[in-house]
């Protein structure tokens, strides 16, 4: 491999990394906004609406608050571990997104044809689980290094919960591996291509061999417990244990824990849509009669553009100008999606992001609907119910695979 080719591949990877990093950090910030809005509407109120139109600038205000707050360190804290714990959590949560494929086609950046994924490794699935495993240390070390008994207790409980549900998480995915026979995420998506009876997509959730409904059920519950979200958030809930392992953290370090939690939510949702919902595959068959489905992304952008313009006219402040401008930008994007040169590249990422958004909505919905588990109920549920159900899924799927052959 000559030097200039190696250099350009390195440069292209660097560009992909920077673009994805920017996108992920923005997505994390606006996921917080999304959650607050959905939570508010479930509870019959409005949520943030003062900072910018519909509260859209609230993440910026929160970011400014986190950066400007006083950064304290508790007396007697183990300084090295106190500083490293949030860094571990955030770094691992964001690195796991490097393995996620966003689309099929290879695009040409700077003349080099690359697929829409940063690291298409052969054991991609195992690599993501490896990063989740090491993420337990961020929580445990944060609890230990804060020199605070609530932190220590919260940290120990939280990490015990995470390693218990990690087992069910990995086991619920084994059914998918039996059906597909590979750990490579792009290959897993390609094995779900095709339509049974001509119109039902062959996603793993609706697999003709054995529908992985139990698998998705176990995976989703284990993922909620793994990311310490309600109803499994006893170890960090305010009314229970002050704030658990991140009691003593303030300003930017707390922001890192916060961002790490939402980034791991995004990772888990991406993984759920790749493994069970077909990733970037379209739910409509690609026969010539269904050609109109290729214009759905453009239609969605156009509809949201019209909505933004009409909504902007209601406001009285600067939003009267900004929102219609945003609407015009979306309209331009929609027009761009109609161009024959681009329309094929847009399909994959559009369907993938739709599925991820759907999974994230269910995530937020579950949080604000169900009451919290008590810790012993949580552990009993994880070991005595979820783990046997995941095992049952593995056994039945392997029987189905053998009988089909």
């Amino acid at each position: 491999m000559n030097d200039s080719l190696a250099h350009s591949i390195l440069l292209v990877s660097l560009i992909k990394v920077l673009v994805l990093l920017f996108l992920v950090l923005t997505a994390v910030a606006y996921l917080v906004w999304f959650e607050r809005k959905v939570a508010a509407h479930i509870q019959g109120r409005w949520g943030p609406y003062r900072v910018g139109p519909h509260g859209l600038l609230q993440p910026l205000a929160d970011g400014a608050k986190f950066l400007l707050k006083e950064d304290t360190t508790p007396a007697g804290a183990d300084r090295f571990l106190y500083f490293t714990a949030p860094v571990i959590t955030l770094t691992l949560a964001i690195s796991a997104i490097a393995m996620i494929p966003f689309g099929p086609a290879s695009v040409r950046i700077l003349g080099v044809a690359t697929p829409l994924v940063i690291a298409n490794i052969n054991v991609g699935l195992l690599a993501i689980f490896a990063m989740t495993s090491i993420g337990v240390y961020g929580v445990a070390l944060a609890g230990w290094s804060s020199n605070n008994k609530y932190s220590l207790l919260g940290g120990l409980r939280s990490s015990a919960q995470m390693i218990s549900y990690e087992l069910s998480l990995t086991l619920s995915v084994v059914g998918i591996l039996l059906l597909a026979g590979t750990f490579n995420l792009s290959e897993l998506i390609l094995r779900q291509d095709g339509f049974t009876w001509g119109y039902l997509p062959k996603w793993n959730l609706l697999s003709p061999t054995f529908p992985q409904v139990l698998g998705l059920f176990c995976y989703f519950i284990a993922a909620i417990a793994e990311t310490n979200r309600a109803p499994f958030d006893l170890a960090e809930a305010e009314s229970e244990i002050v704030a658990g392992y991140h009691t003593e953290y303030s300003s930017f370090k707390f922001a890192m824990f916060f961002m790490g939690e939402y980034a791991s939510m995004i990772t888990v949702a991406c993984l759920a849509s790749i493994l069970f919902l077909g990733g970037w595959l379209s739910p409509f068959p690609q026969t010539p009669g269904m050609d109109w489905t290729r214009y759905i992304p453009a239609a969605v952008f156009a509809a949201s553009a019209v909505g933004l313009i009409l909504d902007g006219l209601h406001h009285r402040s600067l939003a009267r100008v900004v929102l219609p401008l945003l609407g015009l930008v979306l309209g331009a994007l929609s027009f761009l999606c109609l161009q024959p040169a681009i329309i094929d590249y847009v399909q994959g990422p559009f369907w993938f992001l739709t599925k991820v958004l759907l999974v994230l909505f269910v995530y937020v919905w579950v949080r604000w609907t169900l009451p919290r588990f008590r810790y012993d109920q949580l552990m009993r549920f994880g070991w005595k119910f979820l783990f046997p159900v995941a095992l049952l899924n593995v056994v039945v799927t392997s029987l189905a695979v053998v009988m089909r052959r």
């Binding site: 183990d78 090295f80 571990l81 052969n122 689980f129 495993s133 445990a140």
Partner: protein, 173 residues
Amino acid sequence: MTAQLVIFLILAAIAVAGAVSVILQREPIHSAISLIAVMIALAGLFLLLESEFIAAVQIIVYAGAIMVLFVFVIMLLNAGAEERTNMSRMARYVGVPLAVFLLIELAYQVGAATSSMTAQPAADGATRGISMLLFQDFVFPFELTSILILIAILGALVLAQRSEGAPAQRAQQ
């Protein structure tokens, strides 16, 4: 100076630095963190030797579960810093040089004895090959290890139980 050699040197440096840190740290929790760093560096070296499945298993099981057990026990027992006692004169003037000599001798002898070996690619892919071996040639040890883990779980449960029933009952009420 190929890329492989550079990556090997970086990972080897991290592994050796971590191992030295395991020995030299005063707090057990810092030794545990250094050991985790050694294991992750070793997983990188396994990747360099083209055994990606074992690299992933090393991180998920060894660094992500066994070391978590160590960290839990250190936190539960509140293991503090080791007592500072001066090494005996024998240890300082004879022990340490002998230890360094052991390291150099081992490394030299092992390196010299195998200097003619070169890497050969395996026939199958790593994961497929390992699973074929595990479930065909080595199925009996595989089943035995599952019984071994069961025995270990039972043993750990029995050992760590409180000896008197009364404190546990009081805690439950």
